[in-house]
């Protein structure tokens, strides 16, 4: 048996030093180049290539989850009942498909009903990709520049604000959720009009930061976008305060928010293609 020759560490050391230098150069270039720089373009290319893979993953895992759900309900198999079982499976699949279509129809009606009453122009999109790393809350949707999507467009789910687009390819776009630690949404408490910034937290929650200690904030208060910042129109529902407290050493209140949009089982979203200001949806203005 022929064993491979051991590698000389000194040769490998030269390789790794060279690669580390290149890594640092790439990092520096990434920060210094603009959005049209070569590394940004490379990322766009990779995301374009990855979008079909992500869509395939979404497509493949969805029925698998469904199959596991109903397969657990099946009884003990018998060979003489094979034909009947096949028919049963086909019927279950058919019913599940119809049920899925009905639920999707209801969700889309709710989404577009909200947009219609808000005088907003929007594009519906399907979620085709979920976060690929632990450090980001970014999803991919199946609409891109070909559908009029640009970066920094607000994205809504059925019940409220979801996030904003951060990168766009021709047929897909990435959406940073409001639960991402890098997100920030200018918002205010609907009742007291106290302003602050809704920020994602590393642990997964959402905080309403920079709210003055003098402002009135209590659990159950509704948070809406304030319209400042130029990305989110005023009055979009963000969520509801679940706790508000003050510590003597802090300049601001410690407020936690439950997002209105259900971020867990997200399947369809709406991208607002017109950032026309709305007149305080449900804000009483």
């Amino acid at each position: 048996m022929k064993l491979p020759q051991p590698e000389r560490p000194s040769g490998a050391l030269g390789v790794v030093i060279a690669l580390v230098v290149v890594s640092l150069v790439i990092t520096t270039v990434w920060y210094r180049e603009g959005d049209r720089g070569p590394i940004h373009k490379l990322r766009t290319g990779v995301q374009t290539a990855a979008a079909p893979l992500q869509a395939a993953g979404e497509l493949v895992t969805r029925p698998v989850r469904g199959v596991f759900a109903w397969a657990s309900d099946l009884g003990v198999s018998r060979s003489q009942l094979a034909a009947l079982r096949r028919q049963n499976m086909e019927l279950r699949t058919s019913v599940a498909g119809l049920q899925e279509a009905r639920q999707e129809n209801e969700r889309l009606r709710a989404l577009f009903g909200f947009v219609k009453t808000s005088n907003l122009q929007a594009v519906g999109a399907r979620v085709i990709g979920r976060p690929t790393t632990s450090y980001e809350r970014v999803i991919t949707v199946d609409r891109g520049s070909a559908d009029g999507i640009k970066i920094e467009m607000p994205v809504l789910a059925g019940d409220g604000l979801l996030g904003q687009t951060i990168s766009v390819t021709q047929h897909s776009a990435r959406v940073r959720l409001i639960t991402d630690a890098r997100s920030g949404v200018s918002a205010m408490i609907q009742a007291s009009r106290a302003e602050g910034v809704v920020k994602g937290m590393v642990g997964g929650g959402v905080a309403f930061a920079f709210v003055s200690r003098e402002a009135t904030a209590k659990a159950g208060d509704v948070i809406i976008t304030s319209g400042f910042g130029g990305i989110y129109p005023k009055g979009l529902l963000v969520g509801e305060i679940i706790s508000a407290s003050q510590t003597p050493s802090s300049l601001f209140q410690d407020i936690r928010v439950a997002p209105a949009a259900d971020l867990a089982g997200l399947e369809e979203v709406v991208v607002l293609t017109s950032a026309a200001p709305v007149t305080a949806i449900g804000s009483g203005e």
Partner: protein, 170 residues
């Protein structure tokens, strides 16, 4: 050439799995890092030079797939591949403890280093919060997956030698 093709193949499969499957294997917000697992395995099997080169490639793919800055995982996986590869000569047949230890240390180190760089670049959160909610759970999850992947991938990468689970690789 016969050893390069399996390595490139493993890297490509890991990239596809990271984009298509990893998001659906997430536990809470902890997403497994298949690219890290492949880098560590290849480094243990092939040595520090190939480990660093594969780490560089995998890190670039990881950074480009995500939405954060390009560079942090590139640097981390390059160094992880190199350092894990230094243990290449010490993979003995006597038991599973050493490979397990190397895998655990490598995944924890990579997670901590990556999280630390993000904190320093001001794109992560506070360190301890990030450590407890991202780095540590991520390291544990990746180590568990590494135990499943390492023996099979090591055997695939070195088909010319009769490797059994956690047997001597060098």
């Amino acid at each position: 050439m016969s050893r390069i093709l399996p390595t490139v193949g493993a890297l490509l499969v890991a990239a596809v799995l990271q984009a298509a499957l990893a998001p659906y294997l997430a536990i809470g917000q902890v997403v497994p890092n298949f690219l890290l697992l492949v880098v560590v395995t290849i480094a243990l099997v092939e040595g520090p030079g190939p480990g660093a080169a594969v780490g560089f490639s995998a890190g670039l793919v990881f950074d480009l797939l995500g939405s954060g800055p390009v560079g942090p995982m590139l640097l981390v996986l390059t160094l992880t591949g190199y350092l894990a590869g230094l243990m290449h000569e010490n993979m003995f047949a006597e038991g599973w403890l050493l490979p397990l230890t190397v895998l655990a240390i490598a995944t924890l180190s990579a997670e901590v280093a990556y999280g630390l760089i993000l904190v320093l670049l001001n794109v992560g959160g506070p360190f301890w919060s990030t450590f407890l909610t991202k780095m540590l759970p991520g390291a544990v999850y990746n180590t568990v997956l590494a135990l499943l992947i390492f023996p099979w991938l090591a055997r695939f990468l070195r088909r010319e030698t009769s490797i059994t689970t956690f047997q001597r690789l060098g």
